[in-house]
């Protein structure tokens, strides 16, 4: 889950390749993950398309018993308020520190975009939505796994509460630690895709994304971003620029 910025020479190479081959970048970007003319991204897109074509929709990831809980590392992130952190955001970092000092009483998740009723959910408001508890396996992209019990509300419940428009196709997530990522509507509406505020029967730890994080059980861990701040429902694909996976060299789809 630890991200590394792609070096400048690599960026330049990608840029050059993109300008040669990437004529479709502008057009493709509207409805599906763009490849920017990059061979590796073309492979990622092939895998994504194959999964969507061949795998049955909304298959449930395996769930475990509480007896199978394992130690759970927290990696790739630091306290969003840590000004020395590699993902520190000048505005959101200090704000996160104030919210955390107040026990997240003033914290709220904004949901906007292609929804009929854009709104902000406090933790108390979220807890009134359809809840779900699941013991699932974190599958880190590095190769380690952990079994954890998560408690939260289904993303589907949140989207329904805000009156998601029928034209909506993607859901984007923005975090306090200057991270942004997105998933398609199929994964967004998956019964196990939740916004978790509890871990192993306790409020979410700082290291695991307090007060609220995403859990996408059908993708690698790095898609389940922590410290949620804002959700934007979109009709078009959004690569989230330099905060997103693709520009940082990572595959946008990580169902693998």
């Amino acid at each position: 889950m630890l991200r590394r910025q792609v070096s400048h020479s690599r960026r330049a190479f990608l840029g050059g390749t993109a300008s040669l081959l990437g004529l479709c970048a502008a057009g493709c970007g509207e409805t599906e993950p763009p490849t920017y003319g990059n061979l590796l991204r073309m492979g990622d897109l092939l895998t994504y398309k194959a999964h969507r074509l061949l795998l049955p929709e909304h298959s449930m990831a395996r769930e475990y018993t509480l007896a199978e809980l394992s130690p759970a590392p927290a990696i790739g992130t630091v306290n969003p308020a840590d000004s020395g952190g590699h993902r520190f955001h000048e505005e959101h970092g200090p704000r996160y520190e104030r919210l955390r000092a107040g026990g997240f009483a003033d914290w709220a998740l904004t949901v906007e975009g292609a929804v009929a009723r854009p709104q902000a959910f406090s933790l108390a408001a979220l807890e009134r939505l359809p809840r779900r508890t699941q013991v699932t396996r974190i599958t880190c992209e590095q190769g380690w796994t952990a079994i954890v019990e998560w408690t939260g509300v289904t993303l589907r419940g949140v989207l329904e509460a805000t009156g998601m428009l029928p034209t909506a196709r993607y859901v984007q997530f923005h975090a306090y630690d200057h991270t942004a990522d997105g998933i398609d509507m199929l994964d967004a509406l998956h019964p196990q895709t939740i916004l978790a505020f509890g871990m192993n029967g306790r409020p979410l730890e700082l290291s695991h994304g307090a007060p609220l994080r995403l859990r996408v059980e059908t993708q690698l861990g790095y898609k389940s971003i922590k410290y949620l701040r804002r959700i934007v429902v979109t009709e078009r694909f959004d690569d989230n620029g330099n905060d997103g996976d693709i520009r940082n060299g990572w595959s946008w789809y990580a169902g693998i």
Partner: protein, 256 residues
């Protein structure tokens, strides 16, 4: 495409030999290229978490079945415990890693999958052609009636000690066992154990997790399969050198 039997032109010094068909030569070098790409990118992925486990869960906070000395990424003292989820000893804990690690998985995994797609395509094509041309039965599959320990041992003796080893095609029994094992057993096993590491795929086909006994078991089997393929490559290249490197290279490159 020429049938290796009807176009037999055997060389002067080895009249029994038939040239490798064009499609065999093309598949051979393509498979080699893709397997090399997979081995290279796979090693880079493994370096980011060079520990192997058995079962479903495995991470830095748990004991490993095997620790590979290929990177400095596992430092037991580099973790800050942030939570203990029960008072009992052995209760699940969470800890935060506070040191940077080697991780180039962004491009390495995308390359691994790109090469994987190419390998699977080539392998399928190869299997279909081998079936259609009769190459599979005539040259590749071990002759069942001769598949006896005694006979194999005798042939192994010959491979190691005899002054002149027959090269084929048609292949000897040991060659048949090795080629069939590498192409139709080891490579498909790599594919299956690889797929078992994909959360979206095991959600659709949870039987894969049962087949290997969990995610981490599949990952360990994936590594064992890699070692088997390395062993095959060493023996294969060893025998090529022993039976005439230039003659063999010319046969596999030019078909004569």
């Amino acid at each position: 495409m020429s049938d290796p039997v009807t176009s037999s032109t055997g060389g002067g010094d080895a009249p029994r030999l038939r040239p490798h068909a064009g499609w065999v030569r093309t598949c051979h070098w393509s498979l080699l290229a893709f397997v090399l790409l997979l081995a290279m990118s796979g090693s880079i992925i493994l370096k980011s978490h060079p520990r192997l486990y058995w079962g479903e869960a495995g991470n830095d906070l748990m004991p490993a079945l095997l620790e590979l000395p290929i990177s400095d990424n596992h430092r037991p003292d580099g973790w800050v415990t942030t939570a203990r989820f029960d008072e009992l000893p052995g209760a699940p804990i969470s800890a935060w890693r506070d040191y940077p690690i080697y991780n180039h998985n962004h491009w390495a995994r995308s390359l691994h999958f790109l090469a994987g797609w190419l390998l699977v395509t080539t392998l399928t094509l190869y299997a279909l052609l081998a079936l259609r041309t009769g190459h599979l039965w005539r040259n590749l599959l071990p002759r069942l009636r001769d598949l006896r320990w005694q006979a194999l041992r005798q042939e192994l003796r010959k491979h190691l000690l005899a002054a002149d080893v027959e090269v084929g095609p048609p292949y000897g029994q040991l060659q048949r066992v090795a080629y069939t094992g590498a192409v139709f057993v080891a490579l498909p096993l790599m594919l299956l154990s690889g797929l078992t590491m994909a959360p979206a795929i095991t959600a659709a086909w949870p039987g894969l997790l049962d087949l290997f006994g969990g995610y981490q078991s599949a990952r360990t089997v994936h590594f064992a399969g890699f070692l088997l393929l390395v062993l095959f490559a060493l023996v294969h290249v060893g025998m090529v050198v022993r039976t005439g490197l230039w003659r063999q290279l010319r046969a596999m490159l030019l078909g004569r």
